[in-house]
Every structure is written in C-alpha cells, then in structure tokens.
C-alpha cells in the first residue's frame, strides 16, 4: 500500500494562484496514470486556512486534501505541516521574517513539523543561508524535488540533504491546475490525516518522487503498479 502525496501546492487562496481545489483534483483524476498521487497538501502562502473544508471534494474524487502553510523565514521558505492554534498564536504567518529555529522548535513541541522547501534556490533556500550561518537544529526533511525549480537547484537541494542527513520530500509547488502532482512524496505508510502525515514526516519512511516528463523517478513503474 503506502501513500503518494503532493506536499506543496497553492490554490486560489494564495494571492498568486488562481487554481481551484476542485480543478486540481479533477486534473489528478484525469492524469492518474502518469501522476498516481493519492492526495495533495495545500500550502498557501503566508497563511493558514483554518476553516476551509474539503471533505465533500475528498469524497467526490476519492483523494486526500490537507491544509498546511508555506511561510517565509530568516532561512528561506518553509512548509509547516500540522499548523495548530499554538503556532498561529505565537507566529504571525504573514511576517516574511519569521525566526526559522523558533518556528521549528515550536512546531516540534506542538505536534507540527517544518520542512524547508526548495533549499537549493537562491535567497529563499536553506543552502544559501547555510553558507554563512550555523545550520538549523532539528530539521528532519527538506524538499529536494520542486516543480518550479530552475536548472541546478535540485542538485543543490539534494547535496544539502545528503550533507546534513535530511530526509527528502517532493512537491509540485503548483500554482497552475495542470502542474499539480508532478513532484510528490511516496510514504510507506497509509496516510489519511494531518496527524498521520506529521508522524510519518518525523519518523516514517519516505522518498521524493518525480513524475515530470523525462524526469520520472526510477521507482515510478513500481509505484504506479502498486496504486
């Protein structure tokens, strides 16, 4: 079994995307043979949609839809899974200068987990900050596959993950309907809830998986036949 999730996507709730969640799910259904993901995580920019409810869409499409956030910190952009009242109270998600270490620690203490995204990207990726600052403590994973990467950025991301022993995830970072699910993360465990996702990101077994044309991960055929 196992679960394949696109851990990084932006719906029309993010200011720079016009993609409706329903259109994302419909697109996955249409392209299931080439992007066999079981669900998506909406990581809206600098906010958390506490009250959004996608249960009807989940049932209709048979896909998981979870809510998370992409925030901006002094070490670059980071995905926050398991956003909770404590984090929202303590941090202003709209602040583009959040303290990354404080966020990581507060997340760990409150049942959430922080995953730096596109770490190989200039300015907003971990790699550049690590060149002249102390590495962050308690990072468990980074995003090594990102659908918006430029040439060379993913190599940099992977190198950083290997150097520091971080586990690796993937996400499409889609802002357009047709780009959803092109990068994802394959978990060995079955995941249906955010609690399970946080637990697996911290302690489980998983790997980044690439469904982009011409760049498919070697595991793909195996995974596709499993789903």
């Amino acid at each position: 079994m196992g679960t394949i999730l696109d851990l990084h996507s932006h719906s029309e709730s993010s200011e720079d995307s016009r993609a409706p969640v329903e259109a994302y799910l419909n697109w996955i259904r249409l392209r299931r043979d080439e992007r066999p993901v079981d669900g998506i995580v909406l990581t809206e920019h600098r906010k958390f949609d506490r009250d959004a409810d996608y249960r009807e869409l989940e049932d209709r499409f048979g896909l998981v839809v979870m809510r998370a956030s992409e925030v901006e910190t002094d070490y670059g952009h980071m995905l926050v899974f398991g956003v909770n009242g404590e984090l929202l109270h303590r941090f202003d998600f709209a602040n583009v200068h959040l303290n990354a270490q404080e966020l990581i620690d507060a997340a760990a203490q409150s049942g959430a987990v922080v995953v730096p995204c596109h770490p190989g990207r200039p300015t907003i990726g971990l790699w550049e900050h690590y060149r002249h600052r102390e590495p962050l403590r308690n990072v468990v994973a980074v995003e090594v596959l990102n659908g918006g990467s430029r040439k060379g950025e993913e190599l940099q991301s992977r190198e950083l993950a290997e150097t520091h022993g971080y586990r690796m995830v993937g996400g499409s970072d889609s802002h357009l309907v047709s780009l959803i699910g092109l990068c994802a993360t394959r978990f060995e465990a079955d995941i249906r809830t955010m609690e399970e996702l946080v637990r697996e990101l911290r302690d489980g077994r998983y790997d980044a998986i690439d469904f982009r044309p011409g760049r498919r991960s070697p595991q793909r055929s195996h995974t596709a036949s499993d789903v």
């Binding site: 419909n26 918006g148 357009l176």
Partner: protein, 146 residues
C-alpha cells in the same frame, strides 16, 4: 501565415485539451517594434548594446505585456473565429525573456462551466530548459447557445 483552426464551440471543449506546444522565437526586431508601438523607447527594449550600456543588463528584453499578448494570441488562435471570446487573461512575468531565445508556448483547458458556457485555461511560455518564464491563466466565454 498559419492555417486557421476551425471555430471552437463550447460543446467541443474538453478538460485536458492541449494548446500548443508552439515553438517561437521573438526576434530583437519584433521586441523593439512592439516597444515602439507602445511608446516605450527605454534602452532595454531597443538593442542589446543599449540594454548593456544604459542599464547594465546582459541583453535586451522582451516587454512583459508583449508576452501577455503572445499568450493571449495562443488562446484566440485556438478559439478560431466562432462565438468563443477571450474574457480574461492574467500573467505573471517570472523572468526576463530575452529576444532570440527559443521559447515554447503551452496551454491546457483546466475547467469548464456548463452554466456560464465558459472554460478556464493554463497558459505559459518556457525556455529550452523547461523553465517557465511567463505563466498565466485565461477564461474564454462562448455566449448563449444557438
């Protein structure tokens, strides 16, 4: 001149349908002529030499709104001369588009609305490395059924 596609009707629009890919190269002359047609005689749109000397840029640029125009044309060419009209297009200029570079235009129908008789599309322009330089979405409306 290209052969014009038959007029698109709402009934024949399918989610997942692809526009392009079309390979294009915007020439320096086209970019300059567009800028002049818009009254923008800024050095960066005039020549590589002007862009380098006056603005310290590596090469001259294609105006952002020209790339919007080219993506709008991808959609209107696909619509043909039927009742379908471009109702909205929004683009984000992610990166410099230098004239002379090989570009590919892409589009997909992503949503249809039976009640409004409209469709939404993704459109983008990418370079040879597959990097999306300009991305956007568009809505086309077909008007009331005959």
């Amino acid at each position: 001149m290209v052969t014009r596609a038959p007029a698109k009707t709402f009934e024949t629009v399918v989610i997942g349908e692809m526009l392009g890919p079309h390979a294009i190269v915007i020439t320096r002359e086209q970019a300059r002529n567009y800028a002049l047609a818009c009254g923008m005689s800024t050095p960066r749109f005039m020549s590589d030499e002007d862009a380098r000397r006056e603005e310290g840029l590596p090469a001259m640029l294609t105006p952002g709104n020209m790339t919007l125009g080219i993506l709008a044309k991808l959609v209107t060419d696909w619509l043909g001369s039927g009742s379908g009209q471009l109702a909205r297009i929004g683009t984000t200029f992610r990166s410099f588009v230098h004239p002379g570079v090989e570009l590919t235009l892409h589009g997909f129908v992503t949503h249809t609305d039976q009640a409004a008789r409209s469709a939404d599309l993704d459109v983008w322009m990418e370079n040879e490395d597959g990097e999306r330089l300009v991305v956007g979405t568009a809505t086309v409306a077909f008007g009331p059924a005959e």
